[in-house]
């Protein structure tokens, strides 16, 4: 359908090729390309703080896409994604400091290491599913977290470990502005890869396992293989995201990778839309900007007479957490299909305006 500029008001696709395109219409393709190009010029236009937010969106987005492949596309549940993200961060720093492998190689290697760990902890998924799986991954979250605190050789124990900035041909990506390009490149690369994965046989097998695993098995999809593969790919994404995070901050400590981080990843994909690559990005953007909006909201309130309540101003950290909880509940009750679905509805509204048919 990429030959069309507008989406037709119905399904007129006649071949598998048309069904499988990344961009449904020409317009979407050009808008995407222009957005990426515009983002390349972002450091020249917007201020440094905004750049840090964009970098945050990139590394969280990569990890969240991994989780969406696992939860949204394969229908498995993982409550341990934050720990895998942390494992990637520590692994990359460890490979770099212990074996002096250049950083840009460490990042994919950390991804593969995390993939191995993820498949190890995902192995019970071959036998269990649903609630039991959720609780098994919860156990892996705690076990990995405990490992970080204990394994001094790997994570530096309680003092944390240092991660060097990325160095490519003598050019160090050690400022926010230069790292931004690394993050943007990784994000685009990983998302294109994710899109293509979902168009491949493996991607379709994931969806089949999610939709009806018994039927999938009868049709010749190897359940165990794909459940495990999904865990592997999801941890790989988490590892890459974590490694980027490590080399961006330059310092990794074990405190950041708690159950709360895993829940935040889940919140991102639920808010964005389960089983939607575009939605993943929307959810990440939402979750990154939510605390900022709250903070500036409280900042504005503080300046007015009636709003300067000490309880609100001092309790900002708690309010942020409470809002995360509320947003999760609200989305699940009122918009279970997430922002991606809402976006489609808005588009449809304008497409059919003023007559809704």
């Amino acid at each position: 359908m990429s030959s069309l500029t507008m989406r037709p008001c119905g399904d007129f696709r006649t071949s598998y090729k048309q069904d499988n395109t990344i961009f449904e219409t020409k317009t979407i393709r050009w808008v995407t390309i222009f957005t990426i190009l515009a983002l390349c010029f972002a450091p020249l236009v917007v201020d440094g703080y905004f750049i840090t937010l964009l970098i945050q969106i990139s590394y969280l987005g990569i990890a969240a896409l991994g989780l969406n492949i696992l939860v949204g596309y394969t229908g498995q549940i993982s409550l341990g994604h934050g720990a895998f993200f942390g494992f990637g961060a520590f692994a990359s720093a460890w490979l770099n400091t212990s074996f002096h492998i250049p950083v840009f190689l460490c990042i994919p290697l950390a991804g593969f290491l995390t993939m191995g760990v993820g498949m190890m902890f995902g192995a019970p998924a071959a036998r269990i599913k649903g609630l039991y799986l959720a609780i098994a991954t919860l156990a892996s979250q705690f076990i990995i977290e405990d490992f970080f605190a204990r394994a001094d050789w790997f994570s530096g124990g309680s003092s944390g470990s240092m991660a060097e900035p990325i160095n490519l041909f003598g050019f160090a990506f050690d400022t926010d502005q230069s790292f931004y390009y690394v993050a943007l490149f990784s994000l685009v690369f990983m998302f294109i890869w994710g899109c293509n994965l979902m168009r491949s046989r493996d991607g379709r097998a994931f969806v089949a396992v999610r939709d009806h695993y018994l039927s999938a098995e009868i049709m010749g999809v190897k359940l165990n293989k794909y459940r495990l593969l999904s865990f592997g790919i999801s941890s790989f994404y988490a590892g890459i995201g974590g490694a980027l995070y490590a080399h961006y901050l330059g310092y990794v400590s074990a405190e950041g990778f708690t159950l709360m981080l895993s829940i935040q990843f889940l919140a991102m994909i639920i808010i964005g839309g389960l089983g939607s690559i575009k939605g993943t990005l929307m959810g990440v953007i939402f979750m990154v900007f939510l605390p900022e909006v709250l903070e500036s909201g409280v900042g504005v309130m503080k300046m007015t007479d009636w709003g300067n309540i000490p309880m609100v101003v001092d309790g900002l950290a708690y309010i942020k957490e409470m809002t995360i909880g509320l947003v999760i509940i609200g989305f699940l009750i009122f918009e279970p299909e997430g922002l991606a679905h809402r976006w489609t509805q808005i588009k449809n509204y304008w497409k059919f305006y003023p007559f809704a048919y």
């Binding site: 019970p124 039991y132 156990a139 892996s140 639920i270 708690y318 009750i333």
Partner: protein, 297 residues
Amino acid sequence: MNFELLTQLVVNGLIVGLLYGVIGMCFVLVYKSTQIVNFAQGEFLLIGAWVCWASLIYLELPFFLGFLLSLLFMAGFGVLLQMIVLRPMIGEPIISVIMVTVGLSIFFQSLMKWIFGSSPQSYPQVFDTQSINIFGLNVEMAYLMSTVIALIIMVAFYLFFKHSKHGLAMRATAFDQQAAQSLGVSVKHVFAMSWGIAATVSATAGIVLGMVNGVSESLSIMGIKVFPAVILGGLDSIVGAIVGGLIIGVLENVAEFFDSQYLHIGNMYDIAPFYVLLIILWFKPYGLFGTKDIERI
């Protein structure tokens, strides 16, 4: 080998295990009747304990009255929570249901921190003597009370489900929702009731634990520690929850003992149950007493 310490630890483990069993029972009750895994179970403990604390400190009620008041509050709270938040989730996929309770857990945990602060508070003295000596073992008075309360709750559960009309309705709903509905059981009431009971009983456990260790956010961790116990017993078996609770309670204390005496790995008290959990899931994916799902196309 220090046998005296080991016995003391095993007894402590049994006492704490009984409490795990009680919390696990609530968990299984909610799961069996409404098919919802409650990740906010720990927050029930937390809220109950804080409400009781507030009624003792701010309202200056005697302990018994404050205790009753907080139980009443929690019963209403559980029912309201089910009606407002969980009822729209009926029929949604598992991940959504799990995430709603996770969201509730985050929300109430930070709400409690916001209202009551993050530092632990202790209850006013309830008993005159702190600990008594039974067969040469030191048992704290509050622990003794917790054991008695836990046993009372278990017996009450048994009587309720075996001999009361509502208990029968709940069992019927858990067995076959549609059949129960067609025979005149109000499934709505059953759902609300199971959440109310779960909240009340968890709050009791929370208050008892709060009397021993003080009230703080660490109470909500109990909601997570109960998972190994219920998985061990099988998610849908009440007896299994009690047995699992006892096993986990003893296990974490024994693991702590061997760790401090021989292994020196550290933090075994918190982590050992999760290792056990993973190992169990490898060999018995439906726990010790859980029913195996048989699926038909």
